[in-house]
Symmetry: C2
Subunit: 128 residues, 2 copies
Amino acid sequence: MSWLDAVKFDASGLVPAIAQDAATGEILMVAWMDRDALLRTVETGTAHYYSRSRGRPWMKGEESGHTQQVQSVSLDCDGDVLRLAIEQVGGIACHTGRRSCFFRVLRDGDWVETLPVLKDPASIYRKI
Amino acid sequence: MSWLDAVKFDASGLVPAIAQDAATGEILMVAWMDRDALLRTVETGTAHYYSRSRGRPWMKGEESGHTQQVQSVSLDCDGDVLRLAIEQVGGIACHTGRRSCFFRVLRDGDWVETLPVLKDPASIYRKI
């Protein structure tokens, strides 16, 4: 696993990972990975992250079904940011039910929402 | 400046910012912004960041001339990551002389370089 040595995890053992739509180039979300999440991602081809709020690794889509199929993993020049080229299952990456987490754009001193809610989050995360 | 209240700077007063080519969608680099760098970016339309190593704000391209003209600023759902849609002056965002900092892709357990060096860094940063 010598490729892991090139990845510079921060003092908390984490590195940010950008999930980018492999087909459109749209940036869908940014989350954190620890070493284990990165290994699971590479081994399974499905994106895994580390939840700082829950204090544990998680597979994206483990509750919602909106998993991410990873086509490639890139590393930046400093080794401290990852980029994943992904296919977003279900077309919804954001927990708000939008395609992308980056749905607010600054215009004339205000954040303007630019993406519609495709699915009610209550129905996305409803327990069966 | 109430729009600034939506931006959640971390304990160090910083937030990561992704610079994405506004025309192609290519992710060019990720750097950090403090409140001042973000304000300068919005006010001038030219990307400013905060250098953690140098401990001060800097204008991207202040030495190299490879400035970034900002077309839009987006904020993610959690308010803790920014995305800049930019035009990269000179076509080189990375200090290694490549178009993008994300020039290494993981293939069969090794990082493979996928982008050429367009300009020798020694000539980019040569003091006149």
